[in-house]
């Protein structure tokens, strides 16, 4: 019995570890898409954030400064995306693809300059702390390998991710700003006639998406592991994008989709460790298949913001 509880603890702990970087990034996706701008450049922003986070944390010794700089690094690419799509009315998908290349390319380029030609950073000494670590370990309240330790002895980024979901939900649905963002995403022309500055709102939303994606990258490079390498972010941004869509463009929905994906990963690893007689590569498909099946059968139809991807030109409606 105790062993089963411990195994469940392991799966929950793995779920949280896997989901956290995705939650940050998916939140970024929610914000930008609710304002009507598609951002498939999340992967590149995450990649850039992962590098900046690890590099700053390595040189400054402060993981928090690393996390913050990663967020601003992502914001920078958000700004570029906004300039292209909002001001110059470029095709949003094309700009997003470009940002995926630029974000990754610039991170590797800077890495080569700063880390002696290597496309990876060195190990950071201080990573994001585990705020509840004082409760777990030998002679403490809980054992670090028991259920409680496996589930709750998480990195600060995990708690921060949940807090951010609540915050984004609150801002989107309970504040005037959030209402404006949603209005701009549904019908920018109408929003404009009501005196909302569509351009400004979209700039803000796209930059915030970079902010969150950058944090998501750093949640990977200075919490899950403790350095950046060129394969660290491989597809996470796209999974977050999918989670955001499965989550019906809602912060709480995106959270659930990320957790579901993480849980499926945890379950897969658990089954693999138990030596179930299934080929490893079939098992490795499980998280994707499971997520797809559950979401298709229980979540139902998803509706995107009405104005998503559409180019907005001020004065069109006059």
């Amino acid at each position: 019995m105790e062993l089963i509880i411990q195994d469940i603890g392991f799966i929950i702990g793995t779920t949280l570890m896997y989901a956290t970087p995705l939650i940050f990034t998916a939140l970024g996706g929610v914000i930008t898409e609710r304002s009507g701008v598609v951002n498939i450049g999340l992967e590149g922003m995450m990649f850039f954030g992962a590098f900046v986070g690890a590099a700053v944390a390595y040189f400054s010794g402060s993981p928090w400064l690393g996390l913050l700089c990663a967020a601003f690094g992502g914001t920078f690419w958000g700004l570029i995306h906004a300039i292209a799509c909002v001001s110059f009315r470029a095709e949003q998908i094309v700009s997003g693809i470009a940002i995926n290349f630029l974000g990754a390319g610039s991170a590797l380029f800077i890495s080569r300059l700063v880390f002696d030609g290597a496309t990876q950073t060195l190990t950071v000494v201080n990573k994001i702390p585990q705020p509840l670590a004082f409760l777990f370990g030998e002679g403490k309240m809980f054992s670090s390998s028991g259920f409680m330790g496996l589930v709750f002895n998480q990195f600060a980024t995990v708690y921060l991710a949940f807090f951010m979901v609540a915050l984004v939900w609150f801002v989107l649905y309970k504040t005037r700003l959030g209402m404006r963002v949603r209005a701009v995403g549904e019908n920018p022309e109408a929003a404009n006639t009501l005196g909302i500055d569509v351009i400004k709102i979209r700039y803000g939303a796209v930059m915030m998406s970079g902010f969150f994606a950058g944090m998501g990258g750093a949640a990977m490079s200075i919490a899950v592991v403790s350095r950046f390498s060129n394969t660290l972010i491989s597809g996470h941004g796209f999974i977050a994008l999918a989670a955001m869509i499965f989550g019906k463009w809602k912060p709480q929905g995106a959270l659930l989709a990320c957790l579901l994906f993480g849980a499926a990963k945890g379950f897969e690893i658990y089954l693999g460790a138990k030596g179930v007689p299934v080929a490893g590569d079939v098992l490795a498909m499980l998280p994707y298949v499971l997520t797809l099946v559950i979401l298709v059968s229980f979540v139902g139809k998803t509706t995107a913001p009405a104005a998503i991807g559409k180019i907005y030109e001020k004065g069109d409606h006059i």
Partner: protein, 335 residues
């Protein structure tokens, strides 16, 4: 206008060829094409380049490299170096297998070599393959793990179940059992070479089950393996190169593949007019093509190191044949 463009193009070509080309002088000239990792990847490509740099210093060889940004660059890069007139051109990594073969087919007078790949019967006479007996260093680190485990449980995390990764797996298991037949080896494949989080979760689970030393042969997944060992204050064992610098207090040793030595020794042979084309050149403990990390002595007590040294002697003498496949392993265990 057209003339200007043509002139510019010609000028650019000259510059490019001039840049990549070996200078005239004594010593052989050896060039290499990296895979997408680039020449400073802290792994394979870097190790290969270090081998050539040593050849430059000690043999007066002329050396050069070309980095590939994507898989589609392999063949053009090999062509570029061929045009530049190198004596021997390396493709670094098995991903370049097809590109090296097709380039060698159209340039039959040019010598090529490839790391970690061979074509068996169909190996062209102008290609030399450098293959490594990874099972040998895996056996040695397995022996160390078997001697040092306190819980009688150790782990192995593989990348994707390829024959080359199985060499690590079964070599390691044989080493563990050689040290102590009672030690249990937990094994799991990540089905990835990049998913560091998965490496971390798998390793956390193994440590949870009571393992106290985990060896990985899993590329980027290994970052997670080492991270989990560090967080739980247990041991990880690195791979390919000395990975102790990633977690100095938690990386016990590493199973090293000396790609640098392979490139250096082939350059030295070429200098003497020897080139073993058309077949695989095997690198193992006897020609220092593989080994264990120089930092091993930091954490492993001298008496165990002495036993490892005697094992190395036995392997070199052929008294121990380290298994590289499951079938070999099973017959090894029957003895």
């Amino acid at each position: 206008m057209r003339k200007t463009i043509a002139l510019c193009a010609a000028g650019l070509l000259t510059v490019m060829v001039g840049f990549a080309g070996p200078a005239v002088g004594e010593g052989v000239s050896v060039g290499m094409v990296t895979d997408v990792g680039g020449v400073n990847d802290q792994s394979f490509n870097q190790s290969a380049w270090e081998g050539l740099q040593r050849a430059e210093k000690e043999l007066g060889a002329k050396i050069g490299y070309k980095e590939s940004k994507q898989d589609a660059d392999y063949a053009p890069n090999l062509e570029t170096l061929t045009d530049a007139g190198y004596d021997l051109i390396w493709g670094i990594g098995f991903l370049m297998g097809d590109a090296v073969k097709s380039t060698a087919q159209v340039n039959p007078d040019q010598k090529y070599a490839i790391v970690d790949f061979c074509y068996g019967e169909e190996t062209l006479p102008n290609i030399a393959c450098a293959v490594f007996q990874e099972e040998q260093p895996s056996f040695l680190v397995g022996y160390i793990a078997g001697k040092m485990t306190k819980s009688n449980k150790v782990g192995f995390v593989g990348g994707i179940k390829f024959p080359v990764i199985e060499k690590f797996e079964y070599g390691y298991m044989a080493g563990v059992k050689m040290a102590n037949p009672d030690v249990e080896v937990l094994r799991q494949y990540a089905e990835s070479f990049t998913d560091a989080a998965k490496g971390k979760a798998i390793t956390t689970n193994m440590l949870q089950q009571g393992a106290d030393i985990v060896f990985h042969a899993a590329g980027g997944v290994g970052d997670g393996v080492i991270e989990a060992a560090k967080e739980r204050k247990q041991w990880a064992i690195g791979v390919d190169k000395d990975q102790n610098y990633l977690a100095p207090d938690n990386v016990l040793t590493s199973a090293m593949k000396r790609v640098d030595n392979a490139l250096f020794s082939m350059a030295a042979d070429l200098q003497e007019g020897k080139f073993e084309g058309g077949k695989a050149v095997v690198y193992n403990l006897s020609n220092e093509g593989v080994g264990i990390a120089p930092t091993t002595g930091k954490h492993v007590p001298p008496e165990i190191l002495a036993e490892v040294d005697s094992l190395i002697a036995k392997i070199k003498a052929g008294e121990i044949v380290v298994p590289a496949t499951e079938a070999d392993y099973n017959s090894f265990m029957k003895k």
